[in-house]
């Protein structure tokens, strides 16, 4: 096994996971290319991450997050992940350059990329007037008349940023007059910006030009009216799509490709966790990404501890092993450890007593929903379960060890 934890993606989710995982003394590497910080590396400033007041440059925050994770021993593999191959004992990540790397647990934080509008002209004019990155291209568009499509936080923040360079910025909003998806404070700034003007109830139907973009065709959704607007640049900020193409078939994704994972960041595959913007969720911010990363790392740590423990104590042990499940919070299970040890001694077989809270996932896997319960393993295979009774050890004494 090359690593305890491999983290795919170097945005706030991945870097927070790296920090937490390395502090748990797990051998950890985060895999990403280019600048640290993911999407924030291309964001001019961050002002809503608690404790970092003022207008911190996104790239600087990303670098600081990477440095902090590295200070605790997290390594950085500069590479791109091509495939995830889940396995029964450890998972393999196939990299473009450095071949296959194996880890006990994997945390997926690949992030998102801008969604294309899918209108005629958009593809053809990419790099010739159509852009998805204001920081990349703002300088090029100095003194031009620009169009921004979208009305969320990213759209309005980038429109304001572009306004510092451009002659004018027209924001095309799909909603009714005054209605936008962005956070209120960002809406206020955008509406007060003299460089910005708004076209409501409208979408872009086509992008036209010859060598470079020359105009957009707007369609008013209320009136059906079609009009054209001359422009040299179209910036598209109309939502995001997850970078999860490499995960197709490996783990469960939703209809739009976002990773399905609950509050514990567990994906459909045991030992594979998700964090950040590529996870199916409502709020995609630096703070929620970082929180996801911490939760994913904590659960990965717990997963490694319990799964390894169980494998060594139970699955890789020859002959019969009795497994007793109890937990301090369930009073009716308190007698189980002593009873099971006595029964095991009489039968001349080893017993392993586990906390069903910590080992809950494993207990569930073998059909023990609630403690107290007793599971019987023979050469690592489950051969019997005494569950759903207040006295599983008594049931074991009566039923005996299944042949």
């Amino acid at each position: 096994m090359d690593w305890d934890v491999l983290i795919v993606g170097g945005g706030p989710a991945g870097l927070a996971a790296g920090l937490y995982s390395a502090r748990s003394r797990l051998r950890t590497a985060v895999i990403f290319r280019g600048q640290a910080g993911g999407q924030i590396a291309g964001t001019s400033f961050i002002e809503n991450y608690p404790g970092i007041p003022g207008r911190t440059e996104g790239a600087a925050l990303g670098r600081a997050m990477l440095e902090q994770a590295r200070a605790f021993g997290c390594e950085h593999l500069e590479d791109e992940v091509l495939q995830l191959l889940p396995g029964p004992s450890g998972h393999t990540v196939r990299l473009k350059r450095q071949g296959e790397q194996k880890a006990r647990a994997v945390i997926l934080s690949p992030g998102t990329e801008p969604r294309a509008l899918g209108v005629p002209g958009e593809r053809e004019f990419r790099g010739r007037g159509v852009s998805y990155c204001a920081t990349c291209d703002a300088d090029m568009f100095a003194d031009f008349d620009l169009v921004v499509v979208g009305n969320g936080d990213a759209a309005l923040e980038e429109a304001i940023y572009l306004g510092k360079f451009a002659a004018s910025v027209t924001v095309v909003v799909i909603h009714d007059v005054g209605v936008m998806d962005a956070t209120k404070i960002i809406q206020e700034r955008a509406l007060a910006d003299p460089k910005l003007r708004f076209v409501w109830n409208s979408t872009i139907q086509e992008i036209r030009g010859s060598d470079l973009v020359e105009e957009v065709v707007l369609r008013n959704l209320r009136t059906g009216e079609v009009s054209s607007l001359s422009t040299q640049g179209v910036f598209v900020f109309a939502g995001v799509v997850p970078r999860t193409g490499f995960l197709q078939g490996a783990i469960a994704l939703d209809g739009r490709g976002f990773i399905v994972a609950g509050e514990n960041m567990e994906t459909s595959v045991p030992g594979v966790f998700a964090a950040g913007d590529a996870r199916q969720k409502a709020l995609r911010q630096v703070i929620t990404a970082a929180a996801d990363g911490a939760v994913a790392a904590w659960n990965a740590d717990r997963y490694i501890a319990t799964e390894e423990n169980f494998r060594m104590q139970v699955l890789e042990r020859p002959g019969t092993v009795l497994v007793g499940l109890w937990t301090p919070a369930v009073a009716s299970s308190h007698a189980l450890p002593r009873q099971l040890e006595e029964a095991a001694a009489r039968l001349g077989v080893p017993a392993v007593v586990l906390d069903s809270y910590r080992f809950g996932r494993i207990a569930q896997r073998y059909g023990a929903k609630e403690p107290p319960a007793v599971l019987v393993f023979q050469d690592g295979k489950p051969v019997g379960a005494y569950t759903g009774t207040p006295d599983p050890v008594g049931a074991l004494r009566e039923g005996g060890i299944p042949a």
Partner: protein, 105 residues
């Protein structure tokens, strides 16, 4: 990979009789920086057969505009000084080069 600019673009790119790939990039462009290493690798695979160059658009805005490049990353293939193709991703570039070189045979 050689750097080209407003002083030498004409000589090194437009007057080259063969194929030249120019990576128009900007230090402010995160996707450009992320693809840099792969582009170097691709270039080394074509060493001797075609020339790879990079052009920083922040320092060469007029040059880029003159080449009809407005936005980065922009990967452009020239043949005998004529612009053959422009794209934005390495995958597209790889396919296009395979196509062009396949045709030439």
């Amino acid at each position: 990979m050689m750097d080209v600019n407003k002083e030498n673009f004409d000589r090194l790119v437009l007057q080259d009789p063969g194929l030249v790939v120019v990576d128009f990039w900007s230090p402010k462009c995160e996707p450009c920086l992320a693809m840099e290493e792969d582009l170097e690798f691709l270039a080394s695979g074509y060493a001797g057969r075609l020339t790879f160059a990079r052009c920083n658009i922040l320092e060469n805005r007029r040059l880029a505009l003159g080449q009809r490049v407005l936005g980065v990353p922009a990967l452009v293939i020239y043949r005998a000084g004529e612009k053959l193709w422009q794209g934005a991703t390495l995958e597209e570039l790889e396919n296009q080069l395979a196509h062009i070189l396949g045709q030439g045979r």
